[in-house]
Amino acid sequence: MENRARKLYLIPYVLWIGLFVVTPILLVVYYSFFDLNGNFTVANYEKLFTPVYIKMILSSFWYAFLITAFCLLIAYPAAYFITKSKYKQLLLLLIILPSWINLLLKAYAFLGIFSTYGAANSFLEAVGIGTRQILFTDFSFVFVAVYIFIPFMLLPIFNALDKLNPTLIDASRDLGASAWITFQKVVFPLTIDGVKSGVQAVFIPALSLFMITRLIAGNRVITLGTAIEQHFLITQDWGMGSAIAVFLIITMVVIMVVTGTRKRGVQ
């Protein structure tokens, strides 16, 4: 009886996974083996290892790495500060709030702020640095991407820090460890899982960013996401687009495994 009921509950899960996860992935893999004329081929994968795509893959990884690194650099201290604050929930809400606003809208806002006669340059002018080109540079691209991804990095780190037992820190200090050693040997190892999920939540989507590469970087940054979009919408070379997508899926699995479940540190 109980067993049957349990099987019943399984149905929505199996249906969901089957229809929206397994089938699409299989379709993507299937399409990746066909060329423009509908012939079976592995040429799409061979093409992935030509200089053009290798360059694109390397630049995607480089930007995704930069974005993740800056997110971590900002989110970790911020999360730490928030856990120590009296207004924890309010501060957290303020960080998450921008993620409720449509991404496109935010991108257009930055287009205005960073333009030659925008707010950012008016400020630079006022403090005597003078007008710079901000829009369509690597800086603006990484800045906007970090802005967009910060909540995804901050939340898991915040949760990990929040769960941390404060008596452990006291104990460490009592036993003579400096603040830095305490952070290095106690706080960071105990929150590493939060950092890992944050890194996954940022690095993986950052690899396939597309829209803001056009809006903010003016197509001066080309990522794998841009290439997929172009292959599906413009050249209608679904095979090549799918091959890139398969490559990304494999990369993501690798990243998940590497940063994944291994338990480390003191527990």
């Binding site: 423009l36 004329n37 053009v52 360059k55 694109m56 630049s59 287009l111 333009s115 030659t116 006669y117 080109q133 829009l135 369509f136 056009r214 809006l215 970087a217 003016g218 197509n219 001066r220 080309i222 290439a227 172009q230 599906f232 919408l233 413009i234 050249t235 209608q236 070379d237 090549m240």
Partner: protein, 357 residues
């Protein structure tokens, strides 16, 4: 357990109620299946007031959707998720859709206003006898530049863009055919060239333009040019004329080496559900008064002879936007190059985009 079931029932009840309300609302607006028309058009390519007017006059409800490239439009029509009744592709896309058997023939007897269209835009190579398509707008690709920022220097040719004084001052439109075409034309090749050697040459020539390029963007180019973000933009003529009405210091030129001449025509996709209303809509858009209002809003060149009579003389006689047949002779219409060549164009375009300064 009971709580869970109750929650489920509540969610379903709310969902059902919402669906019911939406369908009732649609009905009260007359949006039943037999009485709607789904139009698929380029972004910002119609005066929205005209849609209201069409709805009022005919009682047909219009569902209006937009796209930003011929390729994206064709993909959506091919997949058939939405039954579009009218679409507005460009010439090479019409040729492609015709060959893929995706279009319905247009019944000319239901479009009496067709007589107002200039003969010059009828019976073109991509659709002999206009069996499948009716002219909507036409135009060119050219260079829009800011006269003040150019300090009196004029631009007349694609090759002028390579000038060292234009460092970081050029915005390009994000289209493989447009940008590759510009590279080909600057070398005096045809923009329908399929010789790979020529294409590689064009791509290498474009690479040397990289220091002058500020960004490669989509429709944002209008906003950026309006705000003096760059001196030069490579744009479609309609974007240029719209901006030139707003800003007097802008100038548009069709480069002397040649450029693209294009036609956007209205078609009825095979997936259409309301063919009758589609014909009504096409006829409505060809009405001279309506076409005039639409042209004044959109800024592209109308193929409607009668509408030209209603429009201000200085616009109609402006050769930058209404070049006469002799001037359009040196311009080329995009040919449908086939999927493999299109993929090659795009690959080179992608490589060009990745070329670092």
């Amino acid at each position: 357990m009971n709580k869970l079931i109750r929650a489920f029932v509540a969610v379903f009840a709310v969902a059902f109620l919402l669906m019911y309300t939406v369908s009732k609302l649609n009905e009260s607006e007359g949006k039943t299946a037999g009485n709607t028309l789904t139009v698929f058009n380029w972004g910002d390519y119609i005066d929205a007031e005209l849609i209201d007017q069409f709805e009022k006059e005919t009682g047909i409800k219009v569902i209006y959707e937009t796209f930003d490239s011929n390729e994206a439009m064709m993909t959506k029509i091919e997949q058939g998720g939405t039954a579009y009744d009218v679409a507005v592709p460009s010439e090479y896309a019409i040729d492609k859709m015709k060959k893929a058997n995706q279009l319905l023939p247009v019944d000319h007897s239901k479009i009496p206003n067709l007589k107002f269209i200039d003969e010059r835009f009828m019976n073109l190579a991509f659709d002999p006898g206009n069996k499948y398509s009716i002219p909507y707008f036409w135009g060119t690709v050219g260079i829009l530049y800011n006269k003040d920022l150019m300090k009196g220097k004029e631009i007349t040719a694609w090759n002028d863009l390579w000038g060292p004084e234009l460092r970081n001052e050029i915005l390009l439109v994000d289209g493989a055919r447009e940008v590759m075409g510009m590279g080909l034309n600057s070398l005096h090749y045809s923009l329908n060239d399929t010789n790979k050697q020529h294409l590689i040459e064009a791509k290498e020539k474009l690479d040397t333009l990289t220091p002058n390029i500020k960004a490669i963007v989509g429709d944002e180019i209008r906003m950026l040019m309006e705000n003096d973000e760059a001196t030069i933009g490579v744009v479609w003529s309609g974007t240029a004329s719209e901006l030139m009405w707003k800003k007097e210091n802008l100038e548009y030129v069709v480069p002397e080496e040649g450029s693209n001449l294009w036609f956007d025509n209205m078609v009825i996709p095979k997936t259409a559900k309301n063919v009758e209303a589609a014909h009504k809509f096409i006829n409505f858009m060809l009405d001279p008064k309506i076409a005039t209002q639409n042209t004044e809003y959109v800024g592209y060149s109308t193929p409607n002879k009668k509408a030209l009579e209603y429009m201000p003389k200085e616009i109609v006689s402006d050769e930058r936007f209404y070049p006469d047949p002799e001037q359009t002779e040196r311009l080329e219409v995009y040919e449908n190059l086939g999927p493999n060549m299109l993929a090659y164009y795009n690959e080179l375009f992608l490589e060009f985009k990745m070329h670092k300064k």
